[in-house]
């Protein structure tokens, strides 16, 4: 084992875990990226170390990105941690945020292979998408049985969403809050910006390279597992 190569590999891994970039375009890390790309031993070390840590590495546009994947107890977020980060209290509110995040993904990608060529999104676009996706549930809400509403169901999410005004008169401008649809979307925007998945410019939100790297690679690679889990859920539901 070559200590020097292992050292470089560990430096790359450390940078990635700390959330720093390893990229050809970044002065601080371009030499590391070059080593990773040209030295097979370092390449192997980096991949091995990350694999043992249950992390997945993706190379996109001459940069490296890692993801904890789903259900990673060490590096992933627990629901409570996510609620704190987002600023929500209840599970249904957290799921609504998940849903809004998914709406944002859909605005940019219909599927992992084809981008929608959307350059940026605004709060109103996301509200519109969420409205139309939840249409089938909100229609049902015209008539419902309060006792039958489950805590974690789309009907509940739809109710939380539908019972809010688009923007409260008191707010006036777009501010993160749990009082309106726009407030929720802003809350999610802030979170995704902090997560380096979106970039804000004049109230327009652009998708980052990191988000592109993960959307195009992760879901392609793990689609089988995701479908399997969904299938399991469907079968569980049948009993």
């Amino acid at each position: 084992m070559d200590t020097k190569e292992l050292e470089i590999a560990l430096e790359i891994v450390a940078r990635l875990i700390n959330g720093d970039s390893v990229s050809r375009g970044d002065k601080a890390s371009q030499s590391l990226y070059q080593e990773y790309e040209e030295n097979g031993q370092i390449y192997d070390y980096v991949n091995l170390i990350l694999k043992k840590m249950n992390l997945t590495l993706y190379e996109y546009n001459y940069s490296l990105y890692i993801t904890p994947g789903e259900n990673n107890k060490t590096f992933g977020y627990s629901n409570e941690e996510l609620k704190r980060e987002l600023g929500v209290k209840l599970n249904r509110e957290l799921y609504l945020c998940y849903f809004i995040i998914y709406c944002i993904i859909i605005k940019f990608y219909k599927n992992s292979a084809v981008s929608t060529y959307t350059e940026y999104v605004k709060a109103e676009d996301v509200i519109e998408t969420a409205d139309s996706l939840l249409l089938s549930f909100t229609k049902e809400l015209d008539l419902f049985d309060m006792e039958e509403l489950e805590e974690n169901s789309f009907k509940t999410i739809a109710m939380v969403w539908e019972d809010m005004p688009a923007l409260t008169v008191a707010e006036g401008t777009l501010r993160a809050s749990r009082n309106s649809k726009a407030g929720y979307v802003k809350m999610v925007f802030n979170f995704l910006t902090a997560q380096n998945l979106l970039l804000e410019n004049d109230k327009r939100y652009y998708i980052t390279e990191r988000m592109r790297a993960l959307v195009t690679n992760y879901f392609e690679e793990y689609k089988g597992r995701i479908y399997q889990i969904m299938k399991g859920e469907a079968e569980d539901g049948e009993y």
Partner: protein, 509 residues
């Protein structure tokens, strides 16, 4: 008895639909009752909420459906200012009026929440909740706008006449009657209602399109429903438009011929004609849009079918699946991988309580695990391999023994020997033929050399046959020569096919 049964059945089965139809009226009565009694100690009790509601709905209808624009809060406030002064002679300070206008708006929008009420659902014997709202809000370019909801429009339209299958057709029949009775002013109002209905259908068409875009299955249902409730009446509606146009033309002819109609009436007829023309144009537009909808719906359904064949991860389809499973928890699967690593971990202090109060279960016995013998499976191909190996061993040894006796011999001679030794079915054994084929791949087999380094499959079999044979030593110095003779044919057993003869020689070095 059957009459009573039918009565009860009607009551039970139709109740749901009746309540649904009633829901659009609920906000009116809820608001009209005591709305100003409690506000500022009844200071504005002279105001009639019912009248104000109708005026606001009419204003929204004018803006949303005639002018086709959404309403900003300021526009609404300006309109109500006029109503308060004109109809109630209420001249208030700007701030006070602002408060009153905001109060009315909050009441009308129910503070941004839907109006809800409970009723008894006789089929399921449960209480259910009905929701409705008249005014919807939406954001555009950072500005909030308001529009009438379908329930709001339906309520306003139905306050004046009964809704039939096609409101446009009903309105046209009414229009025809009004023209015949020379009530041209009333006719103009009816045409406006027709325009409202056309606008509602346009909004509905847009809703169907967006439903198709988000969920093709739900969208298809909405589309079918729209075809049933809206589009199928178009032909009839157009006929009625033509009929009413003729009626107006007749009225106009009457003016030309006799000139006996008053000027104001003539003006009304001209206005009516103008309005009808506009309505026909709008109706044609709707017709065009619906044809476009048909085309788009087909295209969207086709695209949805194709995308099912793709290998990539389809976000919209997965979203639909998750919604179908009604398990929002699954969204975690899709969102969590996108997040950064959570390297800063915190420990909840509440967990200390859990640790101190947790009770250990007593005497939980572990399950005894017995030592098990690992089963050894023999697979069919292994069985087959073993059989081939055994058969080859027998044949190779027989060949060498025969060679030892004769030095050189032919296949037909060896066949006879084999029949003596193992009886005639041996010539029908498949392994015997594969043995001959493998053997004929080479002409010389130096046995000692072959034992050290077997080259072909047959040589490997020879090795195996020799290795555990106590007569191995006798053949180590031998070389087996195999020479096929294509001129001579050998019949393999009774009624069997022929093969070329082979000359074998076993040479001692």
């Amino acid at each position: 008895m059957s009459e009573e049964y039918s009565l009860l059945r009607d009551i039970v089965y139709e109740h749901n639909e009746r309540i649904r139809n009633l829901k659009k009226c609920y906000p009116f009565f809820k608001l009209a009752e005591n709305s100003f009694q409690q506000y500022k100690e009844g200071k504005y009790a002279s105001l009639d909420m019912g009248y104000i509601i109708m005026a606001i709905l009419r204003f929204f209808m004018e803006e949303n459906n005639f002018k086709e624009k959404d309403v900003a809060y300021e526009e609404y406030a300006a309109f109500l200012h006029v109503i308060l002064q004109q109809d109630f002679a209420m001249y208030l300070e700007e701030e006070e009026e602002g408060e009153l206008v905001s109060y009315i708006f909050d009441k009308l929008t129910n503070d941004g929440h839907p109006f809800t009420y409970q009723y008894f659902e006789p089929l399921e014997k449960k209480k259910k909740t009905v929701r409705t709202r008249w005014i919807e809000s939406k954001m555009r370019k950072e500005q909030l706008y308001y529009t009438l909801s379908a329930d709001g429009i339906a309520f306003y339209l139905e306050t004046k006449e009964m809704k039939e299958e096609s409101s446009i057709s009903v309105a046209q029949v009414l229009l025809g009657k009004m023209i015949s009775s020379q009530n041209f002013k009333g006719g103009i109002q009816v045409i406006r209602r027709i325009n409202n209905e056309v606008s509602r259908l346009k909004v509905r068409k847009q809703e169907v399109l967006s439903a198709l875009g988000s969920d093709v299955f739900e969208g298809t249902k909405a589309y079918d429903d729209f075809v049933k409730t809206g589009m199928q009446w178009f032909e009839e509606e157009q006929k009625l438009f033509a009929k009413n146009k003729q009626l107006i033309e007749k009225a106009l002819e009457q003016i030309d011929r006799h000139g006996h109609l008053a000027d104001s009436k003539a003006k009304d007829i001209y206005r009516l004609e103008e309005e009808l023309k506009k309505a026909i144009v709008r109706h044609s537009e709707l017709l065009y849009e619906c044809t476009d909808l048909q085309y788009k719906a087909d295209e969207m359904i086709r695209t949805a079918k194709f995308s099912r064949l793709r290998q990539s991860f389809d976000f919209t389809q997965v979203c639909r699946e998750i919604m179908k499973l009604d398990s929002p928890k699954l969204l975690e699967l899709l969102v969590n991988p996108l997040l950064c690593l959570r390297t800063k971990k915190t420990f909840s202090l509440a967990k200390i309580d859990d640790m101190l109060t947790v009770r250990l279960k007593e005497g939980e016995k572990g399950e005894k695990v017995k030592a098990q013998v690992e089963e050894n499976y023999v697979y069919p191909d292994e069985l087959e391999e073993e059989r081939i190996q055994n058969n080859y061993r027998v044949l190779i040894r027989s060949l060498l023994e025969f060679g030892q006796e004769r030095e050189s011999f032919t296949l037909s001679q060896w066949n006879e020997r084999l029949i003596q030794e193992f009886s005639s079915p041996i010539l029908q054994n498949g392994d015997f033929y594969s043995y001959l084929v493998h053997m004929c791949q080479k002409k010389e087999y130096p046995l000692e050399k072959l034992l050290k380094m077997p080259d072909t499959f047959f040589e490997k079999q020879v090795c195996l046959a020799l290795q555990d044979w106590d007569r191995q030593e006798e053949f180590l110095n031998c070389e087996l020569l195999v020479e096929p003779d294509v001129q001579e044919k050998v019949k393999m057993g009774r009624d069997a096919f022929e093969v070329s003869d082979i000359h074998f020689s076993l040479l001692y070095k």
